[in-house]
C-alpha cells in the first residue's frame, strides 16, 4: 500500500512538471528556467515526436503510472514497471541529447528524469513484492 501511495504521489509530481511543459510548449511561452537552456531544448527538434510534444507523451505516461498505482493487481504492477523503466531509458537518451547534441540542459527535464528514476525504483520494488517466488 505504501509503495503504491508513493508511486501515485510521484506520478502526480511528474504529471505536474509535464503539464507545465505542455502549457509552455503549446502557448509558445518560455519556461522559467534556472539553467537557462529550457527554451533551446524546448525549441529543438527533439522536443517533438512526429509532431507530438514530448512533454505530452510524458504527461500521458505519468497519468498511466498513476492509474497503475491505484490498482492492486499484478498486471498493474507489471505495466507500471514497464512504463517507468521505458520512461527512464527515454529520459536518459534525451539527457544525452541535451548534453551532446543540443548543448543546453532543461532543468525541468532533469527534474522529470529524477522523478522517473525514483518511480522506476519503486515500481520494480512493487513488482518484487507483488509476484510470488
Amino acid at each position: 500500500m505504501r509503495l503504491r501511495t508513493a508511486i501515485g504521489a510521484l506520478a502526480l509530481v511528474g504529471a505536474g512538471i509535464a503539464s507545465y511543459l505542455v502549457v509552455v510548449k503549446l502557448s509558445g511561452a518560455s519556461a522559467v528556467c534556472p539553467t537557462g537552456g529550457c527554451a533551446t531544448v524546448e525549441r529543438s527538434k527533439y522536443a517533438e515526436l512526429a509532431g507530438i510534444p514530448v512533454a505530452l507523451l510524458g504527461l500521458v505516461a505519468y497519468a498511466a503510472m498513476f492509474v497503475t498505482a491505484m490498482r492492486r493487481d499484478e498486471h498493474a504492477a507489471i505495466a507500471g514497471a514497464a512504463i517507468a523503466l521505458a520512461g527512464l531509458l527515454y529520459g536518459g537518451y534525451l539527457l544525452v541529447v541535451q548534453l551532446a547534441v543540443i548543448d543546453a540542459v532543461c532543468a525541468w527535464c532533469v527534474a522529470s528524469d529524477v522523478v522517473l528514476a525514483l518511480l522506476a525504483a519503486l515500481a520494480v520494488a512493487r513488482l518484487q513484492r507483488t509476484s510470488p517466488d
Partner: protein
C-alpha cells in the same frame, strides 16, 4: 486470476520497457536526428567552414548577441555588417585567435552589435543571426555567414543558404530560426544596435569597442587583430 511467477513478471516488465523505449528512441533518432543531418544536404548548398566554426565555438557560452563568460572582466563589442568584406576577413582570419586566447580562457566576452547599412542582404542576414541568438547560436550563424559571404546585394543571403547554414549548426532548430525573424523583438534589436553604433561614434565596419565589463567602453582606433589585442590586454590590466 492465476498468479504469474516472479520470473515471468520481470520478463514481461523488462520486455515491455524495452519495446516502448526502443520505439520512442528509434522514432526520435529517425525523425529528429535524421533530419538534422540532412538539413544542409537537402538544400544542395555547400557550407564552407562548418567544422572549423563548430570547433571554435564548442562549449563557449552564448546568450543572445554575447559570446563568452557572462562575468568575464573585459567586454569587446564588435560593430559589423554581415555583408562587409573586411568584416568577413577579420571574422574568418583573425577572430578565431581572439576567441581562443581571450574568450575561451574566460578573460573577455564579445558582443555582436550587428549593423545592416550595406543593403537588403544585410538586413536578412542580421535578422537571421539575431533569431538564432534566441537559441544561443548567433555566433555560429554569424561566423558561417562570413565564411560563405557573397557579393554585396546580389541576393546571396538566400533562404537556401540560410537553411544550409542553419543545418550546419548543431542543435539549431532551423525552422524556428527562420520563422523567429518576423518577431517584433528582432526588428527592435536591429534598430537598437544601429542607435548604439551611432552613440558610440562608429563610422565604419568592423569597429571595436573595449572596456571593463559594466564600465565605459572605448572605441579602438583601428580594426586589425594586433590593435584589438593590445586594447584587450590594456583593459585586462585594468
Amino acid at each position: 486470476m492465476r498468479a504469474v511467477s516472479r520470473k515471468t513478471t520481470y520478463i514481461l516488465a523488462l520486455s515491455g520497457a524495452a519495446v516502448i523505449a526502443a520505439a520512442l528512441i528509434g522514432a526520435s533518432v529517425l525523425l529528429a536526428g535524421g533530419s538534422s543531418k540532412s538539413a544542409a544536404a537537402e538544400t544542395g548548398t555547400t557550407i564552407q567552414g562548418a567544422a572549423a566554426v563548430n570547433d571554435l565555438l564548442a562549449g563557449i557560452p552564448q546568450e543572445g548577441t554575447m559570446l563568452g563568460r557572462r562575468n568575464a572582466p573585459v567586454t569587446l563589442v564588435e560593430y559589423a555588417d554581415l555583408q562587409c568584406p573586411y568584416c568577413a576577413h577579420v571574422a574568418v582570419g583573425e577572430f578565431p585567435g581572439i576567441v581562443r586566447d581571450y574568450v575561451r580562457t574566460g578573460k573577455v566576452r564579445v558582443v555582436f552589435n550587428g549593423l545592416s547599412f550595406v543593403g537588403p542582404d544585410s538586413v536578412t542576414a542580421l535578422e537571421t543571426a539575431l533569431s538564432a541568438g534566441a537559441q544561443k547560436r548567433l555566433w555560429h550563424v554569424v561566423q558561417l555567414l562570413y565564411a560563405n559571404q557573397g557579393t554585396e546585394n546580389t541576393g546571396w543571403v538566400s533562404e537556401e543558404l540560410l537553411r544550409g547554414v542553419g543545418g550546419a549548426v548543431p542543435g539549431l532548430d532551423v525552422a524556428s530560426m527562420l520563422t523567429g525573424r518576423s518577431a517584433g523583438s528582432i526588428s527592435s534589436a536591429r534598430q537598437e544596435a544601429q542607435q548604439s553604433a551611432n552613440t558610440a561614434g562608429v563610422t565604419g565596419t568592423p569597429s571595436f569597442a573595449v572596456g571593463r565589463t559594466h564600465g565605459v567602453l572605448t572605441l579602438v582606433s583601428g580594426n586589425d587583430a594586433q590593435t584589438v589585442r593590445s586594447a584587450l590586454d590594456a583593459a585586462l590590466r585594468g
